[in-house]
């Protein structure tokens, strides 16, 4: 019996979830599910650079917001189909990633991390000063009432994000298994040795940053229609920054399934906490979990699982 290749599973699950979305009537699940899917995209995208190569991006919010505000601009100009906005948002975010990467990736990883943090802060400054997109007052987007083929527009957004999540996961897996992924792993283990073994470190890092940033931008593009009122604080929320790091870390950074596990787990915890306690406290939970895992279980849940499996194997063969 031939083994089922692992990339079939995300597709199967996505199809099942899609089928469920056709049947479930309660829109709350669409709203909540959208957030979980969005984080699957952000976490998996972050991990392409952060987990595979070891270069930490603190500015996920910047790339996300580029997608979101890109849609705002398009919404004012021309109102294209959402798919176009997603595509364009991804391109712009990817180019910003290219610029940041090229300027800073020749130095130590620390400088890249700091630059991404500063990038998020500065982009927020630019947006706040840009009245065309509403400046500090924010922007109201009109969510269309309905769309052909879907019971509601929210349902449509959910499915869009589902497709994005599937694409992101498959892209992450493809990279992980390709020679690019091996090169990134070599960079993560020892960049100097990798470079001297012929790995084009700068090129690979820039590539990973572009893909990572582009996917994050795509995740942000539908956001204005989801939330209908977009202001700089919500678009650039630090929640995106810390979740993008915490989710892959807690889930496990070396395998594409890690960010998915982390995203689902943390997003659900945060949804529950927001509803039951408060939204500030749930961010603290994330921060606390981040510190705990990074100290005690740096390989995440996937790592714990691997260790457990390893121990069982060792116990089985004396």
């Amino acid at each position: 019996m031939t083994r089922i290749p692992s990339w079939i599973w995300p597709i199967i699950i996505a199809v099942l979830v899609f089928a469920a979305s056709r049947v479930v009537k309660n829109e709350y699940y669409m709203f909540a599910g959208y957030v979980v899917l969005q984080y699957i995209v952000l976490a998996s995208a972050w991990n392409i650079l952060g987990g595979y190569s070891g270069y930490v991006n603190f500015g996920s919010a910047a790339f996300f917001a580029i997608g979101a505000y890109g849609t705002v601009v398009l919404d004012k100009l021309w109102q294209p189909p959402l798919v176009v906005a997603i595509f364009l948002g991804g391109i712009v975010a990817s180019l910003v990633g290219l610029a940041t990467a090229y300027l800073t990736l020749r130095l130590r990883g620390v400088f890249f991390a700091i630059a991404t943090l500063a990038l998020a802060i500065v982009l927020q400054t630019l947006v706040v000063n840009w009245d065309y997109v509403g400046g500090p007052l924010g922007y109201y987007s009109v969510r269309p009432d309905s769309i052909v083929g879907f019971p509601s527009y929210v349902n449509y957004l959910f499915v869009i994000m589902l497709v994005l999540a599937l694409i992101t996961v498959l892209v992450a897996r493809a990279i992980e298994w390709s020679f690019i992924g091996r090169g990134l792993a070599a960079i993560r283990d020892n960049e100097l040795a990798a470079e001297c073994c012929g790995v084009p470190t700068l090129r690979l890092k820039v590539f990973a940053t572009m893909v990572s940033g582009g996917l994050m931008g795509m995740a942000g593009a539908p956001f204005p229609y989801y939330i209908t009122y977009l202001d700089p604080n919500s678009a650039f929320s630090l929640a995106y920054g810390i979740n993008s790091i915490a989710m892959p870390l807690i889930g496990g950074m070396t395998h594409w399934i890690g960010p998915v596990i982390g995203a689902v787990l943390l997003a659900v915890i945060q949804q529950v906490a927001t509803v039951t306690i408060s939204s500030e406290l749930n961010l603290m939970i994330v921060g606390g979990l981040l510190i705990t895992f990074i100290t005690l279980a740096p390989n995440g849940i996937v790592g714990l699982f691997e260790t457990y499996r390893q121990q069982r194997l060792e116990r089985a063969s004396p």
Binding site: F179, A185, R188, D189, N190, L192, E195, C196, V199, P200
Partner: protein, 245 residues
């Protein structure tokens, strides 16, 4: 008849702040040659290796490899052209197995050479190399748990996997036993027979004497001798540099 030099570096200078690490050093290596590079600690040997391999850029000077000017190329391109170095302190890819370590240079360096990489699969080639260095039985072990001498061999194996024309072995024998030193020497001689030029950087004099056709001596960033090992060993300045006045 003298051949075209494989490596022709002239006037390499490197300063770190106020400290002059290399002061107009010239070095030539011919195809298939065995060169020993010696000198007291801090004389600039590792800095020279770093400049030649591209880990750092020299302040001035030209480096020609196989007739091509390479001083502006990043390290990975120099590796792909065939100039490969090992590290004094082994830098294995700790998350990979021993054989996994070798697939990196095979895929990223050897594949880019017109004569390297194609034919047998990467895995087979890697296993053959491990056979050569004596690490075949550890092929699937994690590279993080090796002994000192095994790590040194892995460094060498990884360098071999990049299919070098010139291999710079940076103190691969430091701290090894006599037996282990002999192992490494015979390994390097075997590589040399395949046509690979080798620069051996060592403090272990008997190794340098046994191995090199030519010895270059660096003291305080300057080249003070460049001749056959016997002549160099009797050079008064060299003796003084090592033993003091």
């Amino acid at each position: 008849m003298t051949q075209e030099p494989l490596l022709d570096a002239t006037s390499i200078r490197k300063r770190f702040g106020g400290f002059v690490a290399l002061d107009a050093v010239d070095i030539i290596v011919r195809p298939g040659e065995r060169v020993g590079l010696i000198g007291p600690n801090g004389s600039g040997k590792s800095t020279l290796v770093n400049c030649l391999s591209g880990a750092i850029t020299s302040d001035t000077g030209t480096i020609c490899f196989g007739g091509r000017a390479i001083e502006k190329l990043p390290a990975h391109q120099r590796t792909r052209l065939g100039i490969v170095r090992t590290f004094q302190i082994p830098l294995p890819f700790a998350s990979m197995t021993v054989v996994g370590n070798l697939t990196i240079p095979l895929r990223f360096a050897a594949h880019h050479r017109p004569d390297g990489g194609q034919g047998e699969s990467d895995l087979d080639q890697a296993l053959l190399i491990l056979e050569d260095v004596g690490l075949r039985n550890k092929a699937h072990a994690p590279s993080a748990g090796l002994t000192q001498v095994e790590m040194r061999k892995l460094e060498l194996a990884r360098a071999i996997a990049a299919r070098p024309k010139l291999l710079i072995a940076d103190e691969t024998m430091a701290g090894l036993s006599n037996f282990e030193v002999d192992e490494i020497i015979s390994l390097l001689l075997k590589l040399n027979k395949q046509g690979i030029a080798i620069i051996m950087i060592e403090h272990i004099m008997r190794a340098v004497m046994a191995f090199s056709q030519r010895a270059i001596v660096l003291v305080a960033g300057k080249k003070i001798a460049d001749d056959s090992p016997d002549v160099v060993m009797n050079n008064a300045e060299v003796v003084r540099a090592y033993l003091g006045e």
